[in-house]
């Protein structure tokens, strides 16, 4: 039984709609449910799954569509009642008295002292709003993705012209003046300033700095394309570096990027050399160059944090003292493979953070493993389908193909849970490598449901005479509201090995996979 309801001129944000959809899907007797705005993409999606009919056909981007397919008429009615209830709560929860202007000019009339616009509207409108904000003298952070690169260049040029920050598009995180923006962690303040063209990477480095006793002055996000795309040419990275150079609170700088375009990387390094401040550089997927002058290159993100903390304390950097030494990792790996079958050979990395996936992938590749991934576009290295693992596989589950019409895995763990069950059903899977990201924006208890999935995946593999190794790291701090110690306990109780950083988790996984591939030969 299908039921479709249309609400004219009722706009809700995408995270809310995704959570409402999830709630409806869990209602009794519901086969499929969608709560979405009537955009072209959403209507096409609804049509494809047979949930577009009647008045739903006439929906516009400002109209809300509630579509339910249930086992009975009563179940469909009940689901729609639940949806109305959720929508009503949302309207009233905001408080009737709160004034919510509908335009930027209206907002500035009542709040003229505003200095930053945080924009997370759908990508096709984000540039338009950002342009208005910059023209009115506001610094801007665009969280939204799906903004054309040409528009990004134009916005960043406008920002440069006006001397304003233009973080993003697709800037997931930043920490300004100690305040976490969008997806960000609670960190100590201190003398380390960061500029990063990588969201989860910036979170990982900030959390490692905090764990090592360091502190952060500013953490500026530029959006992932800033160094990667030759057209953007590091515009915001260069501006961020200049601002940190002139910031008296910043004594040490860290620059981080997804694999950069060669000439853009060279330009950034040249600029860093002129700052006169000690800098740590980590370009993902590139072998570190020899450190020289004021620039030090790190081999991984945790090391970038360690180098920066040492520099900030005026100490010479020495190799990170790891709680899991190589010898201990070898011993643990030996124990992990003990009960595996001879078929169990492959690592399956399922990541919520794109840069965290790249870091793990780079480590396995450096050690001579062929790993397929949706992060790779080259033939022979790209997965034929991101939904199906082959051999050693590392997947960025925050990729667009997974998140179209679904919440990001940092918000909703269910997508990854389904995939974990499928990996566990594959007799070739030896190990699941996972990341967990805490902080604002992320799920309130990610390791609760994840722990349960780990436990049932392990039980499934044990049931057919094997053993499933599960290794994870948690990107978070003691200041995050999810309570990192409690989160860690939940994973460990499920039999998951939890390492202190993404790099160490990948290294531990490497030890186990090596062992699993050599013990039968």
């Amino acid at each position: 039984m299908k039921k479709i309801i249309l609400r004219k001129n009722a706009y809700y944000d995408s995270v809310f709609l995704m959570l409402a959809t999830q709630a409806l899907k869990q209602a009794p007797g519901v086969r499929e449910a969608v709560v979405a705005m009537g955009t072209e993409v959403n209507l096409a999606l609804l049509r494809e799954i047979g949930l577009l009919a009647g008045e739903g056909e006439s929906a516009r981007p400002n109209d809300l569509v509630i579509a339910v397919d249930a086992l009975s008429g009563e179940a469909a009615e009940e689901a729609c009642r639940i949806a109305e209830e959720i929508l009503k709560r949302k309207r009233h929860g905001k408080g009737e008295e709160e004034y919510r202007p509908v335009s930027l000019d209206g907002a500035l009339r009542v709040f003229p002292e505003a200095n930053l616009a945080v924009i997370s509207v759908p990508g096709r409108y984000a540039g338009r709003e950002a342009r208005k904000a910059l023209n009115r003298g506001l610094h801007v952070m665009i969280f939204s993705d799906h903004v054309a690169v040409e528009e990004e260049v134009e916005l960043k040029d406008l920002a440069l012209d006006k001397g304003l920050l233009m973080m993003g598009p697709d800037c997931g995180t930043a920490i300004l003046n100690g305040k976490p923006l969008c997806f960000a962690n609670g960190v100590r303040r201190g003398p380390i300033g960061l500029v990063a063209a990588s969201g989860s990477g910036l979170q990982e480095v900030c959390c490692c700095i905090d764990r090592m006793g360091g502190g952060i002055s500013q953490a500026i996000g530029t959006g992932g394309r800033d160094l990667q795309d030759r057209r953007v040419r590091g515009r915001m990275m260069l501006m961020g570096i200049e601002a940190l150079k002139r910031d008296p609170e910043t004594r040490v700088m860290v620059v981080l990027s997804k694999p950069p375009a060669e000439e853009v990387a060279a330009m950034v390094l040249a600029r860093l050399e002129q700052t006169g401040k000690p800098c740590v550089v980590h370009f993902l997927g590139r072998k570190p160059s020899a450190s020289g002058g004021s620039i030090r290159f790190s081999a991984n993100m945790e090391e970038a944090a360690a180098m920066a903390v040492a520099l900030s304390k005026g100490e010479e950097y020495r190799e990170i003292s790891r709680s899991f030494s190589n010898a201990k990792m070898a011993t643990v790996a030996e124990a992990e493979v003990q009960n595996m079958t001879s078929e169990q050979k492959y690592v399956r990395g399922l990541f919520a953070g794109g840069t965290l996936a790249i870091e793990a992938l780079a480590l396995f590749e450096q050690e001579g493993f062929k790993v397929l991934s949706n992060v790779r576009k080259e033939p022979g290295l790209a997965l034929r389908s991101p939904h199906r693992s082959e051999g050693h596989t590392i997947v960025d589950m925050g990729d667009d193909v997974f998140t179209l019409g679904r919440p990001h895995p940092m918000i909703d763990p269910s997508l990854r849970e389904e995939r974990m069950a499928r990996e566990a059903a594959d007799p070739g899977t030896a190990l699941l490598l996972l990341d967990v990201v805490l902080g604002y924006g992320a799920h309130e208890d990610p390791c609760g449901p994840l722990g349960e999935t780990v436990a049932s995946a392990k039980t499934a593999v044990a049931g057919r005479g094997g053993y499933l190794s599960v290794i994870a790291s948690i990107t978070g701090t003691e200041r995050d509201f999810q309570n990192i110690a409690e989160q860690k306990k939940k994973l460990e109780a499920a039999g998951c090995l939890v390492l202190p950083s993404n790099y160490q988790a990948a290294l531990m996984a490497l030890h186990v996979i090596r062992k699993a591939n050599t013990r039968w030969t």
Binding site: E113, A114, V118, S120, F143, K179, L181, A243, Y440
Partner: protein, 57 residues
């Protein structure tokens, strides 16, 4: 490259106008940041032709 305004921002309290996800505004309030959340809707009801006309005006 003139970054004076950015360095000034580093010394000020953040005052944020939030366009889009309400949860971002809620989180900033928990950090005691002053936020004004807009009741953002797609312009011109999401009609692309009207939007481009509006932009020209």
């Amino acid at each position: 490259m003139d970054v004076k305004k950015i360095n000034e921002l580093f010394k000020k309290e953040l005052k944020v106008i939030n366009l889009g996800l309400d949860s971002f505004a809620d989180n900033l309030r928990k950090e005691e940041v002053e936020v004004l959340a807009m009741d953002w809707k797609p312009p011109a009801g999401g009609n692309e032709r009207l939007i481009s006309l509006l932009d020209k005006l």
